[in-house]
């Protein structure tokens, strides 16, 4: 897909995000906005998927696992805009009986979600399990996962990282939302990750880096990542992003990790984000 068209979709996704969290005065806009360009590109350009015919097993299609489940607004918007379900359903986000739970779940049957997430650190293991089953099934499609950088403080991530390299799980592309922020402050201050690229390399992964707000670069890096699959090593992309990207007053700090804008702030945000596909 043309980069300009992906940018138009990402702008609408950002409008959806701020409107969703403002409507219920809760949710996580910061990381959601930061991952809008990446997830738009992944779902509209990179992944081979069948949104109109969602199946839990996802045989012969690419799979995506959101490990940092708190950025649910962005995945819900992208799924709806991609055709997994009606965009009008975004209005039910975090409301009673909604399929759009605060953190993604499968028990209410929302198309596009295959694993609950929210309690951090579990998604890499789950994605690897799905990748192992693809190998057993001789299914050569790809498994993608997304993780927060703060989430990498969870030990299970490194259990999974060790397993993937030791067992040559080379049909997975994990991405880290490397925005440097978490709830209590900067990742560097809360619990430094040290040299993150070297950590992944030491764990036996192929490491790529990219700017998570440059859609051409996202496309190229995902393409490069795919070309590295099948060579006995799992692939991770360290994606530099800005928490709150696209809404100026949300950028530059961790303060909008899990805070919703009020009515005035929402208007301000919407003024910065072009309505391209029509609001839900």
């Amino acid at each position: 897909m043309q980069t300009s068209e992906l940018q138009r979709i990402a702008s609408q996704v950002r409008r959806d995000i701020v409107r969703m969290v403002a409507a219920v005065n809760s949710g996580h806009p910061g990381g959601s906005l930061g991952c809008a360009d990446f997830l738009t590109t992944l779902y509209f350009d990179t992944m081979r998927i069948t949104p109109e015919n969602f199946s839990m097993d996802g045989v012969s299609e690419d799979l995506f696992f959101l490990s940092n489940g708190h950025i649910s607004p962005v995945i819900y918007s992208v799924l709806a805009r991609r055709g997994y379900f009606d965009v009008k359903e975004l209005a039910t986000f975090r409301k009673l009986s909604s399929r759009l739970q605060g953190h993604p779940s499968v028990d209410k049957g929302l198309p596009g979600i295959r694993m609950a997430s929210g309690s951090l650190g579990q998604g890499l293991s789950c994605a690897l399990g799905a990748a192992l089953t693809k190998k057993l099934n001789n299914d050569d499609t790809v498994v993608y996962s997304l993780h927060g950088d703060g989430e990498l403080q969870e030990g299970q991530i490194w259990e999974a990282a060790m397993y993937a390299a030791a067992n040559k799980v080379d049909n997975i592309i994990a991405t880290v939302d490397y925005n440097g922020r978490q709830i209590d402050g900067d990742v560097e201050d809360v619990l430094s990750l040290g040299n993150l690229a070297q950590k992944w390399m030491a764990f036996g992964w192929e490491v790529l880096e990219m700017d998570g707000h440059n859609i051409d670069e996202i496309k190229d890096t995902l393409s490069k990542a795919k070309s590295k699959l099948g060579n006995g090593k799992p692939v991770v992309i360290l994606m530099r992003t800005e928490m709150g990207q696209g809404v100026d007053y949300m950028m530059g700090s961790h303060k909008w990790h899990g805070v919703a804008p009020n009515a005035e702030q929402l208007e301000n945000a919407l003024g910065q984000l072009e309505e391209t596909l029509g609001d839900y």
């Binding site: 839990m56 097993d57 996802g58 045989v59 799979l63 696992f65 779940s105 499968v106 028990d107 295959r114 694993m115 609950a116 997430s117 929210g118 309690s119 650190g121 579990q122 998604g123 890499l124 293991s125 789950c126 994605a127 690897l128 399990g129 799905a130 990748a131 192992l132 089953t133 693809k134 057993l136 099934n137 299914d139 030990g155 299970q156 259990e159 999974a160 060790m162 397993y163 030791a166 067992n167």
Partner: protein, 318 residues
Amino acid sequence: MQEFEIFGNKDTRSGFGEGLLEIGKKNPNVVALCADLTGSLKMNAFQNEFPERFFQVGIAEANMMGLAAGMTIGGKIPYTGTFANFSTGRVYDQIRQSIAYSQKNVKICASHAGLTLGEDGATHQILEDIGMMKMLPNMTVIVPADFNQTKQATIAIADHVGPVYLRFGRPSVPIFVKPDAKFEIGKADVLIEGTDVTIIACGHLVWKSIEAAQALHEKGISAEVINMHTIKPLDEEAILKSVAKTKCVVTAEEHMRNGGLGDSVAQVLAMNTPAPQEYVAVNDTFGESGTPNELMTKYHIDTVDVIAAAEKVLARKD
């Protein structure tokens, strides 16, 4: 008094190992994962027969549970194997979110449960696992009584779609379930019919309860013995039918009194037909090193304790 044919003595974990191999041969979607305890879990036969379907994950149980959850996507039926302690308490949040809440078809197979793990001591002797697992929505909880039943249950759970916790143990115990018996999830086995007291047991305490019923018979007391191999979903009908006759209950389990089989039975009685109940269970304490028999004696979950509980509950009847 009913006699039981004994088919030898074996550990229930070996029943799991044999069952896993058999279901592996029947169902190509069955895969197995183990966290560095392949020999202890008796998974070697499956590993040797199906090396491409066996996944050694190392000492990383949290990752094992996540891998298993993910492997269901695409149609595999993963059986995870490690000690009961590392199958539950260590990975409760992984099971809760990635398996139970996510409705994944994972079979969590847990060996060395309870005190009869023996000399390794309290760090490994989990007595809270039934409680933790039965509280999870979507989870089925099975505690088979002997080698044959563990083998039969291991095979049967492959046909049940949804997460299962299968709990078994280390010591050799008498085998009394017939080799060709059919295992039905949620359907209790009435092993001995009686009229004075109902004894409801699971796991290693089932044979102890049979021994107790035989001793009670000598004293002129008619005890009914029910093997409640499925803790959840609980066979309420079997409980109520028996208690309608006997009017009192003993529950017996190798588990903490809080949250185990006994509490599930008590809930059914309280909500339907309150009746006196005595618990044979470990009472709010950790275990310790010792032989299995020494530990069952010291922590009062042996045959004599079932007999004493039956006599006590009989005295409480109106």
